[in-house]
């Protein structure tokens, strides 16, 4: 009898522990916000399902008409992260992507949703891949202070843009039509177009120089854009960023303002 009680107690504890682990994996934590996957599911059905699909595999009803294609959450591969290439994103990375949207894609900014709702969506998106239960996200990459922008820095950046072969995808003038374009695909085999740096001041994963620095460090997983963590030192990355900023500087100030309308971003 005593053995039965002990076994029952152990089973209950085991069930409770596994429930706790599972529910913790289905939560999201962004600052003080705790997202709930169950609530997130209802929001996903309302806002996301038509692009990302009911199974989160990026095969929603609208997906055939969208370029670039919606993210496949089941692969747990995300473009915009603060963590190293190949690692899982932080909850806050997913939250920021939902909030900011992805410029020049079908993904709008969902900032009009409540903060709690965005946190709930993050929690639900994580349920599409077991990776979020099996692995821990990477550590955020360090971003050093930006040195002053100067003509020398821009010149060095221009040289790096050539020597690091950035031009082969983004083009010599940064318009995104380099010689490699025809062969570029994402991790699902869909053709993908390099970013046009001349189109404005916003980028896929943000609009500040720090955002771009982070992209150079982490790469955009799932796309041909690699991490330059090993290939360039921090000063070189800042140089490249200073150069890239000049590619859209031929625009007038008012044109830049129009391009960066920040509508719901």
């Amino acid at each position: 009898m005593r053995r039965t009680i002990k076994a029952t107690r152990a089973a209950v504890i085991l069930i409770c522990m596994s429930w706790c682990i599972t529910s913790a994996a289905q939560d999201s934590h962004i600052g003080k916000l705790v997202g709930n996957a169950k609530r997130g599911k209802a929001l996903y059905v309302r806002y996301c399902v038509f692009c990302h699909g009911p199974d989160g595999d990026g095969r929603g009803e609208s997906a055939p008409y969208l370029v670039p294609k919606p993210r496949d959450f089941t692969k747990a591969v995300f473009k915009c992260r603060s963590t190293a290439s190949g690692s899982l994103p932080l909850d806050s990375d997913l939250y920021d992507t939902i909030t900011r949207g992805i410029h020049a894609s079908g993904m709008p900014s969902w900032k009009p949703l409540l903060r709690q709702e965005r946190a709930d969506l993050v929690a639900y998106i994580k349920t599409f891949s077991s990776a979020f239960q099996e692995e821990k996200p990477g550590e955020p990459v360090p971003i050093p202070p930006e040195p002053p922008n100067s003509a020398e820095s821009v010149k060095r950046g221009a040289e790096l843009f050539q020597s690091m072969n950035c031009w082969s995808c983004h083009g010599k003038d940064g318009r995104g039509h380099g010689p490699s374009v025809a062969s570029l695909t994402d991790n699902q085999g869909n053709p993908i177009t390099p970013f046009d740096f001349t189109g404005g001041t916003r980028f896929k994963c943000g609009e500040t120089n720090r955002d771009m620095f982070r992209d150079l460090l982490t790469g955009l997983d799932g796309t041909p854009m690699p991490s330059f963590a090993a290939a360039m030192n921090p000063d070189q990355r800042w140089d490249v960023i200073h150069y890239i900023r000049t590619l859209s500087s031929s625009k007038t100030r008012s044109e830049e303002k129009n391009d960066s309308i920040r509508t719901i971003n």
Binding site: G101, A104, S105, R202
Partner: protein, 449 residues
């Protein structure tokens, strides 16, 4: 043919009609959903009522801000157009209709009786074309095709994000005022409860040319909002023409302003509070030719205003609109007396004043279904003419209903709706002066593509 066979055939016809109603929708493409690949539910709490994402999209000049808004990014075959119509069956009853004793003989005297009508019907066709003419220049054109007429419900162009700021947007044309809760996007369609009575209320016997904030108006609007649309304002200067073209009244201008602020309440959701006001002048008489008023020559303007406050409260899957209005019309307007003939005012005449409001609640457990309940009232606190009964014009309206969305896609929207409304209009029965009571029941499809 037996009754059983006829019933069977009727059932088959009904099923066929239902299938036919579905069939064309699969090929329809709503303007914005097609452009962005988003479903109705992304922008609508329950179509056509907007949620905050949809409101933000609208406030941004129909732009998502994802770098794909300008027409240059669209497939050349894209045409930003949408059709909406509502085939339905409805039943209307009025408890005190004035009826001639001998039909066709107006001199035979009248009596009051209940009149009930019912049948299949169609609420016309809305054609909406809207979008961006260029980056940060948006437009909206809405012709309405009625049974025997075509009218332009709205037509405007808007300069968005002036000086790169969300706070400066300028709209010119005929447009719906930035109402606390949109009349154009009402979830209720029936004759009795479909209109927000407070938006259109004018006291009995009042000849104010202005017919209510529920009508689209002609003018210019400056509006702006924060990044997330939590803070919004709108100021409009409109002609005192009730939205009618051709300057039918005079050259007076009215001003409408609305301000609202939203905030996030833990555990409950979004909450919104706002204030609004409409201030204007209306002519009390016209220049005449042969005794007939000459359009555009209205004069003897007298003032009026409508102002109030409102809130929109979410409690998880429930949400409630609360709305309050305080109305005032000048004594000459209230008594339909030209201001150049003050002697014609009844003894003791005063400016009419009234208060009204409504509570509209929704239960929206899924994007595919919404239950609706509304109670609206209006109370005269001061009649223009002290010799008439004190509660003449008081209104009480109840509505219950639901809308079900069997399909929801980026291509088309279809709702099945059933609703019932009842209105009691105090003291307005045409002969007895008793309460006039009307009931409406409606069911049918509301679809767009």
């Amino acid at each position: 043919m037996g009754i059983g066979t006829m019933k069977k055939m009727a059932m088959q016809c009904l099923i066929l009609a239902t299938l036919c109603a579905y069939a064309p929708l699969a090929h329809g493409i709503p303007a914005f959903a097609r452009k962005y690949g988003l479903p109705c539910s992304a922008c609508h709490e329950a179509w056509p009522m907007l949620n905050n994402f949809g409101q933000t999209f609208k406030d941004n000049g129909y732009q998502l801000g994802n770098g794909r808004d300008a027409p240059i990014y669209q497939d050349p075959s894209y045409w930003p157009i949408m059709f909406r119509t509502t085939p339905l069956w409805h039943r209307e009853s009025n408890n005190r209709q004035a009826i001639d004793v001998v039909p066709g003989n107006a001199a035979s005297g009248q009596f009051e009786s209940v009149v009930t009508t019912s049948g299949f019907d169609l609420q016309g066709v809305d054609v909406i074309t809207a979008g961006t003419l260029y980056k940060n220049i948006s437009f909206f054109i809405q012709p309405f095709i009625g049974n025997n007429s075509i009218a332009v419900s709205q037509a405007w162009a808007r300069l968005d994000n002036l000086a790169g700021s969300h706070w400066l947007n300028l709209k010119l044309g005929k447009f719906e005022l930035d109402e606390p809760i949109s009349q154009e996007r009402s979830l209720i369609l029936n004759n009795t409860g479909g209109a927000y009575q407070n938006y259109f209320f004018t006291p009995p016997g009042d000849n104010n040319f202005f017919a209510g904030i529920g009508f689209p108006q002609l003018g210019v609007e400056l509006l702006g909002h924060s990044d997330n649309d939590n803070t919004r304002y709108s100021v409009a200067v409109v002609s005192d023409s009730n939205g009618s073209t051709g300057l039918p009244s005079n050259q007076a201008y009215d001003v409408y302003a609305n301000f609202n602020q939203s905030f996030e309440a833990p555990w409950f959701g979004r909450q919104q509070v706002g204030v609004y006001g409409y201030f204007g002048e209306s002519p009390t008489y016209f220049q005449t030719s042969g005794g007939n008023p000459i359009p555009g020559t209205g004069t003897g303007n007298r003032s009026f205003y409508r102002l109030g406050a409102y809130g929109h409260w979410y409690v998880n899957k429930f949400d409630f609109y609360t709305f309050y209005l305080h109305g005032y019309d000048n004594v000459f307007l209230g008594n339909s007396v030209p201001s150049n003939q003050p002697a014609r005012l009844p003894v003791g005449a005063v400016a009419p004043v009234w208060n009204g409001g409504f509570v509209e609640g929704h239960y929206n457990p899924t994007p595919r279904w919404i239950a609706i309940g509304k109670y609206e009232l209006n109370r005269m606190s001061r009649e223009a003419n002290p010799n008439i009964r004190g509660n003449l014009g008081n209104l009480d309206t109840w509505t219950v209903g639901y809308r079900w969305y069997p399909i929801m896609s980026p291509r088309a929207g279809l709702a099945w709706t059933q609703e019932y409304s009842r209105i009691i209009n105090a003291g307005t029965a045409p002969l007895s002066g008793k309460d006039d009571i009307r009931n409406s029941f409606l069911m049918g499809f509301d679809f767009d593509f």
